[in-house]
């Protein structure tokens, strides 16, 4: 299985742990997103999935990081994942996605300003072999299906009850540590 990660998956997959208590202003259920990301990583490891992180997504990820750390973070991504560039063939596929996006139902559309970067990420992943694309954005998942990929959200639970249980316990422990 070759799967690709959108930028939002990269962010939720980070091991925030104790630092989570600092982030109270978000509307999202942070603990739940981190739990879901943990389940995803565990399941993909069990499936021995190969992970693609398009360079466009890595670039977006770097936006939240001090410039002094950009080189080190980029090196880690390249060392651990296949990070394909936005190349000639991806250009054609992302144009196709932008065209297709105009026909999406309103609920499936991504914000206009995000159409291009999202299309570039999905296209890069597709042309380099990914057939499953993980994103928390409905519009990005819809784009993936246009290219014949599986567009999946972070899993809400694991079919493996042990994985599910462990992720929940971890989330509760972290939450408790953050409160104290």
């Amino acid at each position: 299985m070759i799967a690709a990660f959108d930028t939002n998956v990269l962010i939720w997959a980070l091991p925030y742990g104790l630092s989570r208590a600092r982030r109270r202003k978000t509307n999202q259920n942070v603990a739940d997103m981190e739990r879901r990301a943990k389940i995803l990583l565990t399941e993909l490891e069990e499936k021995k999935a190969r992970i693609i992180v398009p360079l466009i997504a890595v670039g977006e990820f770097l936006v939240g990081i001090e410039q002094a750390n950009h080189g080190a973070v980029l090196a880690e991504f390249q060392k651990r994942f296949f990070c394909p560039p936005y190349d000639l063939r991806a250009t054609v596929e992302s144009a196709r996605l932008e065209q297709a996006h105009k026909g999406f139902a309103p609920a499936e559309r991504v914000e206009r300003k995000l159409v291009r970067p999202d299309a570039m990420i999905v296209a890069s992943a597709f042309v380099h072999g990914a057939r499953t694309s993980y994103s928390h954005e409905a519009g990005v998942r819809k784009m993936a299906t246009v290219l014949g990929m599986n567009g999946l959200d972070l899993p809400t639970h694991s079919e493996n009850i042990f994985v599910d249980h462990e992720a929940r316990n971890q989330a509760m422990d972290d939450e408790a540590d953050g409160e104290s």
């Binding site: 939240g64 296949f82 990070c83 190349d87 995000l114 042309v127 072999g129």
Partner: protein
């Protein structure tokens, strides 16, 4: 008594002073091999990757005692109709390279035949036997370039594969097992340093970076030149994200709403 073989097609080397005796055996071998590949319509798997081995052609050993006149070589095939159909399709592509579609297999034999046509200052006509209007395809020195210029686009990219072979006596080459096609992908390698690096990864998965030539209608890769290679070592995914966190990913904890910040920064 076995049936007499049917002549499927003829290969004519046409040019001033061209006779069977003036065609070097190496050129003849390569040309007829290339014609065979055209006749088989891409159904042939190149045995042992031998297409990638350039052989020296001294031109000293040639056919002799062959009937004088144009250098005409009659060929037989188990399925003459199919061979002629495939050769006719190659001829159609030569007349209109936009019609190449998925048939990238014609490029390699076409290059060989154009090189021969160039070297011998001739054209190579493939035609139905015993027929005045039986032209199937005609290859000149410019044919390969004409098709390549119309049908091919090139660009930098990266791809993953498993290294199967590295090296080459006269050229730096490697072959990769890749997910997007069943046959091996034969690649040129830009430098000896990269060949040595590839050699360290024999039978292992790698990411290669370089220049790809694509068929512009199907985006099939018809040629790839490896410029660099590396090998991702993911470990476990949890370890990977721990490493990214320690390398600087932890800066994301400075945002109260990381997902919101991401959305905001993308829109700028």
């Amino acid at each position: 008594m076995p049936a007499k073989p049917v002549v499927a097609f003829e290969v004519h080397f046409i040019g001033p002073g061209i006779t069977p005796a003036t065609v070097p055996v190496g050129s003849l071998f390569r040309s007829l091999t290339a014609v065979q590949r055209l006749a088989l319509g891409g159904q042939v798997t190149v045995a042992d990757g031998s297409e990638d081995e350039e052989e020296e052609d001294s031109g000293l050993v040639r056919l002799i005692g062959v009937r004088k006149g144009s250098a005409v070589f009659r060929c037989t095939s188990p399925n003459p109709d199919l061979a002629r159909t495939n050769l006719r399709e190659a001829g159609i592509i030569l007349d209109d390279p936009e019609k190449i579609g998925e048939r990238g297999y014609i490029l390699s034999p076409l290059r060989r035949l154009s090189e021969t046509a160039q070297a011998l200052a001739c054209s190579i006509l493939i035609r139905k036997p015993d027929s005045h209007n039986g032209k199937l395809a005609e290859i000149s020195a410019d044919s390969y370039k004409a098709v390549r210029d119309v049908a091919i686009v090139s660009g930098e990219t990266s791809l993953t594969g498993n290294v199967q072979r590295v090296g080459g006596a006269t050229a730096k080459r490697c072959s990769l097992r890749v997910a997007f096609q069943t046959n091996l992908l034969y690649c040129s390698v830009q430098s000896k340093k990269t060949v040595r690096k590839l050699g360290q990864f024999l039978y292992q998965d790698v990411v290669v970076h370089g220049t790809a030539l694509h068929l512009k209608h199907s985006w099939k890769i018809v040629s790839f030149t490896v410029k660099d290679v590396d090998q991702p070592k993911p470990g476990s995914l949890s370890e990977a994200f721990q490493a990214i966190w320690h390398a600087g990913g932890k800066d994301w904890q400075n945002y109260d709403d990381p997902a919101g910040y991401l959305k905001e920064s993308r829109g700028q």
